[in-house]
Amino acid sequence: MNIIVCVSHVPDTTTRINVAGDAKSIDAAGVKFILNPYDEFAVEEALRLRDKLKGEVTVVTVGADNAKEALRQALAMGADKGVLVKGEKKDSWQVAEMLATAIKPLNADLILLGKQSIDFDGMEIAPMLSELLNLPAVTVAVALNIEDTKATVEKEVEGGREVIEIDLPCIIAAQKGLNDPRYPSLPNIMKAKQKPIAEVQGAPSAARTEVVQMTKPEKKRANKIFKTDGNATHAAQELARMLHEDAKVI
């Protein structure tokens, strides 16, 4: 089983976001970057499948040199080797394009990735890769079972789950619930430093979208907060009245 996992190097969720001087991006100074949390589910699933079905796990990322940190983290979890596609990420299409070009010659049986990266929260890469590589794909996967060249996937949808049958090779995008990702052990972190990371140059076509402006959402919240002051019933009545008369939601 030849498994490719696409990973992304993203700002930690708890990081404070400040808009940079260009008003189109974030100020990266002081921002802590991590392996995209959804990609951890993808890496974990890949490792389990490799251990069960034999084979190899290659992690691929698009980015600048520092994106290697995300690869190292996946390698420390247990992946076998990494590929850094060097390129600037201006929009998701370009990322998908650079990934597709790098993945195509690798003859994957299975391509795994997180359902979205927590920077742009777009959920675009898996479907785009599916079209660019001519492979079937399932997004938001919470269960995956592979038998021979067929996979059965459960996808989270509104109000329930879809059960999807899919032929390998295919692309699966992981949602929380797929598994519990392992923590890299110290020996594995050490070993990861010796694992090979290949570098290739990405050559994307022109970006198809453009950021006009990045802003912090302004809060226009009523912010009417009060205490029960020992009379919860009165407080409850007051809240209900506000929802009725003020917010007019009931």
């Binding site: 700002p11 938001v140 619930g177 950021v211 006009v212 912010n223 907060i225 009931i250």
Partner: protein, 321 residues
């Protein structure tokens, strides 16, 4: 400007996010057409007639009984070409978020996902997309001739029913190949009779402050009084008190209801990521420093166990139960 909206259905019923996408389309101005991709399109065509659109374009085939992403992607792209669509708008449902990027690739079009606002400024279409877990937002422009957007549910009003137009009807022949059906939905398992958080107009969510699953009837009773869905924080889901399908937040569902009531939820950034675009936010928490209060419209600082029962009674009264 020709705008095409994809009509997603479940069991022959057009889904609300698609109707909202039609409103977003009308607000842009231009000619609005709708796309139907189905094995049997008749029920949807009937519904489409009362949507005040200029044309209904259908791609139909027996193999389309269940969703198959590549087959639907090919069909929608073919319809878009037929409609000479300049703009394609798709409700950002689970399916919509799978379909929109595909159609974008097939049409060589730029795509902005999960938008929360759409406007025209100096002839340019501007779309707002929240990023970094809602901590920032980007106003985006698409630079290709064809533009694709998906609209976050619950932020546009569904158009009023019954404004009948006389849409032109059209069928499109699509050259699917067997390879388009290498993946198909076999089954849809729905949670019985429960309103899903992703679709609900009002949500009552509980957090670790509820102390245990045995106290969930307090949340359920309030939800019932509101006619709301129940949600949960990750702490509660991880503790096994509630199923993951109810989790709101970054690793759960993103919701934009009219009213979100957070009970015993601290308001961690990952939780806020999923619900901060709610129109009205109510927080009930005994800790006055809980971050949830910083984004709440209304809130009571106090013990949920004391507040919930009388609040449920009041809401029942107001809603005339």
């Amino acid at each position: 400007m020709n705008i095409l909206v994809y009509l997603e259905d479940r069991n022959g019923q057009i889904r609300k996010p698609s109707l909202e996408a039609i409103s977003a389309a009308h607000a842009l101005g231009g000619t609005v057409s709708v796309a139907i991709v189905a094995a049997d399109a008749s029920a949807l065509i009937e519904q489409a007639k009362s949507l005040n659109v200029s044309s209904v374009i259908v791609a139909s085939d027996a193999r389309l009984t269940n969703y198959s992403s590549r087959a639907f992607g090919r069909a929608l792209a073919a319809i878009a070409k037929e409609a000479k669509a300049d703009v394609i708008i798709i409700g950002a449902t689970g399916r919509g978020k799978d379909l929109a990027p595909r159609v974008a690739v097939r049409l060589e079009a730029g795509y902005v996902p999960e938008i929360t606002a759409l406007s025209i400024d100096g002839g340019e279409i501007l779309a707002t997309h929240p990023v970094y877990a809602g901590k920032a937002q980007m106003v985006m422009k698409v630079t290709t001739p064809i533009k694709v957007f998906s609209t976050r549910p619950n932020l546009w009003k569904a158009p009023k029913d019954g404004v009948t137009g006389e849409p032109t009807m059209q069928n499109v022949a699509v050259d699917w190949s067997d390879a388009d059906f290498k993946e198909h939905t076999k089954d849809l398992v729905l949670s019985q009779g429960k309103l899903d958080v992703a679709e609900a107009d009002i949500i009552v969510s509980g957090g670790r402050g509820l102390r245990g699953p045995e106290n969930w009837p307090l949340i359920e009773d309030l939800a019932q009084a509101f006619g709301a869905a129940t949600g949960a924080s990750r702490a509660v889901v991880d503790a096994g008190w509630r199923p993951h399908s109810e989790q709101v937040g970054q690793t759960g569902k993103t919701v934009s209801p009219t009213l979100y009531v957070a009970v015993g939820i601290s308001g961690a950034v990952q939780h806020l990521a999923g619900m901060s675009s709610a129109k009205t936010i109510v927080a009930i928490n005994k800790d006055e420093n809980a971050p949830i209060f910083s984004i709440a419209d209304y809130g009571i600082i106090g013990d949920a166990f004391e507040i919930l029962p009388p609040l449920t009674e009041e809401i029942k009264k107001l809603r005339g139960h």
